[in-house]
């Protein structure tokens, strides 16, 4: 078997093993808390995933000054991993342990200070229902892109390209993409046009990229636990480049339909320092729908 594919299968197998280990001995019922999230890196705990390491290590020189492109903007091009975000990919808000493979975590919410999503009552109910009955409907299991801010803490890291007039981000996971024009153009799509990744427009403010995203659909979750948003969500992100390997990432989520007030996530993005690193292909094919094929107890449809 080709080596990379074998490693991929092993990663999934470890998730399967952890999942099965969490099942009660002879019962057919699901473990408390449901299955692990799609493609979660098995055995890495709450450290926010991604190959390539955190950009720190005994053999690396200390961080250097922020590099700049010829146009004066910071050079963010290269490969990045989400730094410690309290296990946001499992659940973006502060959360208890769900099983051996799903540890407790503080999540990535910095405002409000209690680290919890300030839900409107209907949205809290929907999120609870997702968590208890519909984890097999996780959008990523259906090959959907993750929307915001979820995409920014998805596993396996991402690449930033900076061609003229754009910042382009592409993730190995689901080959998800974000194309962000940086000329401060207006949003031109009608409000009725909804996209998984929304419509992002960006501009530079010194060494900070500010990205404004509207036109998001309501088909994505905030994490694998079923936390939701509505299609009125408006996200403002700030990517503040600190040095040659660290970006401070912050996103303000404003969705009066789903939440009682805006809230904020924040974590660092760390440069992947591996030389000659490249992302692999991620082919979304039938196997990605396996959970819903055989687990009706998890809210999937048996086929």
């Amino acid at each position: 078997m080709k080596k990379r594919f074998r490693n991929f299968v092993l990663a999934w197998a470890s998730i399967g093993a952890a999942y099965l280990a969490a099942l009660p001995a002879a019962a057919q019922e699901p473990p408390p808390g449901g299955p692990p999230p799609a493609g979660a890196p098995g055995g890495r705990g709450g450290r926010g995933g991604g190959r390539g390491g955190p950009g720190r290590g005994p053999n690396l020189p200390p961080p250097g000054p922020t590099p700049h492109m010829a146009d004066g903007h910071p050079d963010m091009s290269g490969y990045w991993n989400a730094g410690n975000n309290g296990g946001a990919v499992f659940e973006v808000q502060k959360h208890a342990a769900r099983s051996r493979s799903l540890p407790a975590g503080d999540g990535a919410i910095v405002d409000p200070p209690d680290g919890l999503i300030p839900y409107q009552p209907w949205a809290a109910e929907k999120a609870k229902d997702n968590f208890e009955h519909h984890l097999a409907d996780e959008p990523e299991l259906h090959c959907y892109e993750s929307g915001l801010p979820n995409q920014m803490y998805r596993q396996f890291g991402f690449q930033i390209l900076q061609p003229a007039g754009y910042v382009v981000m592409n993730w190995e996971f689901m080959h998800a993409v974000r194309i962000i024009p940086t000329d401060n153009r207006p949003h031109v799509l009608p409000a009725t046009k909804k996209l998984f990744q929304g419509d992002s427009v960006g501009h530079w403010d010194g060494d900070r990229l500010v990205v404004d995203t509207t036109n998001l659909n309501d088909r994505t979750w905030l994490d694998s636990a079923g936390n939701i948003h509505s299609d009125q969500m408006h996200v403002i992100e700030r990517f503040t480049v600190q040095n040659d390997r660290t970006i401070d990432y912050e996103a303000t989520i404003d969705d009066p339909n789903a939440y009682t007030k805006p809230w904020k996530v924040a974590f660092t993005l760390n440069r992947n320092m591996q030389p000659n690193y490249e992302q692999m292909e991620f082919a979304c094919i039938e196997g990605n729908s396996d959970l819903e094929h055989y687990q009706t107890t998890l809210g999937g449809k048996a086929k």
């Binding site: 080709k2 754009y166 194309i179 292909e281």
Partner: protein, 249 residues
């Protein structure tokens, strides 16, 4: 009097020459450059008439061999005919799988080319596919295969040449069952032919399927709308919507 006429004639001729396009017949278009000196192919591009229904029947798309027919080996031709018969269920695109190369460039959904010094990337509206063309890696990867292949690029004058290998055998070239083995090797050529046109050529070879290489040529056209962007064609989502509508009947 005749001197004035001659003078007027000369002036008129000079004026016409000054207004004429500054290229002689057969001279290629010279595109502007990116900041690092690459010919600039960037923008949002799309075929006007997709040959995806049947690449052989699409007029003028197969330019080699001259008869416009894919040069299948006899056993492979039988397989193609079988594929064609079963297309509704067997076409990988009907399951929203990755289209492969060159099919992904020929669908009726736009693509967007981005260029950076070490890498050229192509984003696709069709299920947010994304191809990375590496300009600095010398050799294809060993012991791995891809739906979209592994793409290595270099410049040949103002033409971007992309060598694509390491394919699996899972994709088709069109809906008519035209297919390949895992020995597929595609050499693409991207050439600007004008301000808003990009010529796309691909030479396809696969000694397990074809008796000789064959070549396609298609012109892509720029989306010139201000603030144009790729939209999302999310095949999996649309498929699920359709299935849930069927179930609720």
């Amino acid at each position: 009097m005749s001197n004035r006429l001659e003078l007027l004639g000369a002036l008129a001729a000079a004026a016409l020459l000054a207004l004429a396009p500054s290229r002689a017949a057969g001279q290629a278009y010279t595109p502007p450059r990116t900041a690092d000196g690459q010919p600039d192919l960037q923008g949002i591009w799309e075929v006007r008439t997709s040959p995806d229904k049947d690449i052989e029947k699409a007029k003028g798309v197969i330019v080699e061999p001259k008869n416009g027919k894919i040069p299948y080996l006899p056993v492979a031709l039988a397989q193609k005919k079988q594929n064609e018969k079963n297309s509704a269920t067997a076409d990988p695109l009907n399951k929203c799988f990755m289209p492969g190369v060159p099919r992904i460039n020929l669908l009726s959904y736009p693509l967007q080319i981005f260029q950076t010094p070490g890498q050229i990337s192509i984003a696709y509206e069709y299920i947010h596919n994304f191809r990375n063309v590496y300009l600095k890696r010398a050799a294809h990867l060993d012991g791995i295969d891809f739906w979209q292949g592994d793409s290595l690029g270099h410049w040949d004058g103002d033409t971007l040449v992309v060598d694509v290998a390491d394919f699996n055998d899972q994709t088709w070239f069109d809906k008519a069952g035209d297919y390949h083995s895992d020995a597929l090797h595609v050499v693409e050529r991207y050439t600007r032919t004008g301000p808003d046109t990009l010529r796309y050529e691909a030479t396809i070879e696969d000694s397990k399927t074809f008796s000789m290489p064959w070549k396609i040529r298609v012109d892509l056209h720029r989306n010139t709308q201000p603030n144009a962007r790729l939209m999302e064609y999310e095949c999996h989502y649309l498929k699920e919507l359709a299935e849930s509508k069927k179930e609720s009947k």
